[in-house]
């Protein structure tokens, strides 16, 4: 099956700055793919190249099998795109906006009516009569997702779709993206880790124009970073923390009152030893929980460590 997005050695140079430096990437068709990186990593530049707004300096970019430079028209006909700050014609209403974009795709008649109605429902904008110029940021972003779907795209590209939204706006947009799973391939750039954890199944981490790592999100958490085990005792937390620090499987131990958080490099050994150590000191074990490695831990390790 053709990959939805394929980048090979993609490089983009602005003067002395290498915004992208030999990026290789393959987005599997049908996935919700997170394109993750700090601000300035090169995410937007990549999307601008994929949508034909910019050209690569070297390397190649293919979307749904089409070269983005040589077959830009074929690419644009098959994708939906939401820029980071979508700008609409302020004098149009939401239905007019969707009809205009639908007409650009050659969609018309009853089919366009049905799509507009469905997308207004999806965006929660059905019955909103005001002009887009009067919309809140969240409403514009939801309309942005809706316009990106007007052509029933095979690939939906979203550039930081939640970055400037309040929590409710973020939730709404993420729910819209979540609802698209299995309907289309979604390529989703962001620097908000919790958004990626919530909707993506595969991610690429980009930093300073280079791919730092890519793969399924679960693999990231499994392979990266020490596991943590939190234990809470009824007393003697300070002494226990000092004792745990000397254990060979303990990478580090922090304490807040009687609650200890231990970074461990051998989870099985820690699981067996911890209750025994607590019992040996005649302490009461109130709670023992394995803390899941978050994408934030992984991200900081991959990107933050290099800074």
């Amino acid at each position: 099956m053709t990959a939805a997005v394929e980048l090979e050695g993609l490089t983009k140079v602005f003067g002395d700055v290498r915004a992208l430096d030999g990026v290789d990437l393959a987005v599997e068709t049908g996935s919700v793919y997170g394109f993750l990186g700090p601000n300035g990593a090169g995410k937007t530049t990549t999307l601008r190249i994929l949508t034909g707004l910019a050209r690569p300096t070297t390397g190649s970019a293919r979307v749904l099998g089409h070269d983005v430079v040589r077959a830009g028209n074929d690419v644009r006909a098959a994708i939906g795109f939401l820029p980071d700050v979508p700008a609409f014609y302020p004098w149009m209403t939401a239905p007019e906006t969707l009809r205009f974009f639908g007409a650009l795709f050659g969609v018309g008649g009853k089919e366009l009516d049905q799509r507009v109605e469905a997308l207004l429902d999806l965006a929660g904008l059905a019955g909103v009569d005001s002009k887009v110029g009067e919309y809140s940021r969240g409403m514009r972003q939801r309309l942005g997702v809706a316009q990106a779907l007007i052509n029933a795209p095979r690939l939906l590209m979203l550039d930081e779709p939640t970055s400037a939204l309040d929590p409710i706006g973020r939730r709404d947009v993420l729910e819209m993206i979540g609802a698209l799973k299995e309907r289309t391939t979604v390529f989703f750039s962001t620097h908000i880790l919790s958004d990626v954890e919530r909707v993506c199944d595969t991610i690429t981490v980009l930093d300073r124009g280079r791919v730092v790592r890519q793969g399924p999100i679960g693999e990231f958490k499994r392979d990266r970073g020490a596991a943590r085990i939190a234990i809470e005792v009824d007393r003697g937390g300070a002494a226990l923390a000092a004792r745990l620090a000397s254990e060979p499987w303990c990478v580090g131990c922090t304490r807040e009152g009687e609650t200890l958080s231990c970074a461990v490099d051998d989870v099985d050994a820690a699981r067996r030893a911890l209750p025994a150590l607590v019992a040996a000191r005649e302490l009461g074990l109130v709670r023992m929980v394995e803390e899941e490695t978050t994408l934030e831990d992984v991200f900081v390790e991959l990107v933050g460590g290099a800074r």
Binding site: R48, T51, G52, L53, A54, R55, N73, R76, A77, I79, F81, P83, V85, P86, A87, F88, Y89, W91, F100, F101, A103, L104, F105, G106, Q147, N151
Partner: protein, 254 residues
């Protein structure tokens, strides 16, 4: 020219539903009203000013239809052309700056189609506004003076309209190249000034669009002037400037 028709319809609707439907037509109507009225009142005004100076006697002829039309085309060449330049300056730069260009150009809309639709829609607005203003001027002139010089008046306005359309195409190119509404407006006004200066130089007046700058008044007064080359070069210039704007825009990164 993928998407041309859809984008042109959008442009037409944008003109009718925003401030753009009021500004240029209103200026043209105002100029159309002021031309005949100021021509009518000018002698009385000058007489009253002269009368306030003891010992000064000025013989002022009665205002005529020609004076009314000359006043109108004079305003076209100065006030209205400057308004056209300023109003057209954001033709492409405005869409790029606001971010709407990014959204529409990631759809099946070619950049050539966008530029040509912009030039066509702005040209039609200028042409219809000119027709409206000219009609108002003609009605008032007939009411206040007589119905003479109609053919000359139409010819004079047509000559000015060609010059205005040349500037619309020039503003498309400047708007694309400079990527700034203010910058394009400044450059457009500078280009107008240069063309006006060039119109004082014989070869430029005879063989370039510079010959159109002062031609309207000369057509009205019945001067026998050769307009073939200014008209041909203006038409070729409109096409060339539009093609150049589309070519530059196609190569630009957004």
């Amino acid at each position: 020219m993928q998407g041309f028709r859809v984008f042109l319809v959008k442009e037409a609707r944008e003109i009718t539903r925003t401030w753009r439907i009021w500004v240029l037509p209103a200026i043209l109507v105002a100029v159309g009203v002021l031309g005949p009225i100021s021509a009518l009142l000018a002698p009385a005004l000058v007489e009253s000013l002269a009368g306030s100076q003891p010992g000064v006697v000025i013989e002022i002829p009665e205002a005529t239809t020609l004076d009314a039309y000359l006043q109108f085309v004079g305003d076209l060449t100065q006030i209205v052309l400057i308004a056209v330049i300023i109003a057209s300056a954001g033709m492409i730069a405005g869409e790029v700056r606001s971010g709407t260009a990014v959204l529409v150009l990631t759809k099946p809309l070619s950049r050539q189609a966008m530029v040509v639709a912009k030039v066509v829609s702005n040209s039609v607005l200028v042409a219809l506004s000119t027709a409206l203003g000219s009609f108002v001027c003609w009605v008032l002139t007939v009411a206040l003076f007589d119905d003479a010089l109609v053919v000359e008046f139409v010819e004079a306005v047509a000559v000015w309209l060609l010059l205005a359309l040349f500037f619309v195409a020039l503003m498309a190119l400047l708007s694309v190249v400079l990527r700034s509404q203010a910058g394009a407006a400044g450059a457009g006004l500078a280009a107008y000034l240069l063309l006006a200066i060039a119109s004082g130089w014989g070869p430029a007046r005879e063989y370039s669009p510079a010959g159109l700058v002062a031609a309207s008044g000369r057509v009205l007064t019945g001067e026998n002037i050769a307009l073939v080359w200014p008209v041909v070069t203006a038409v070729v210039g409109i096409v060339a400037l539009t093609v150049a704007a589309a070519a530059v825009f196609t190569r630009q990164e957004l």
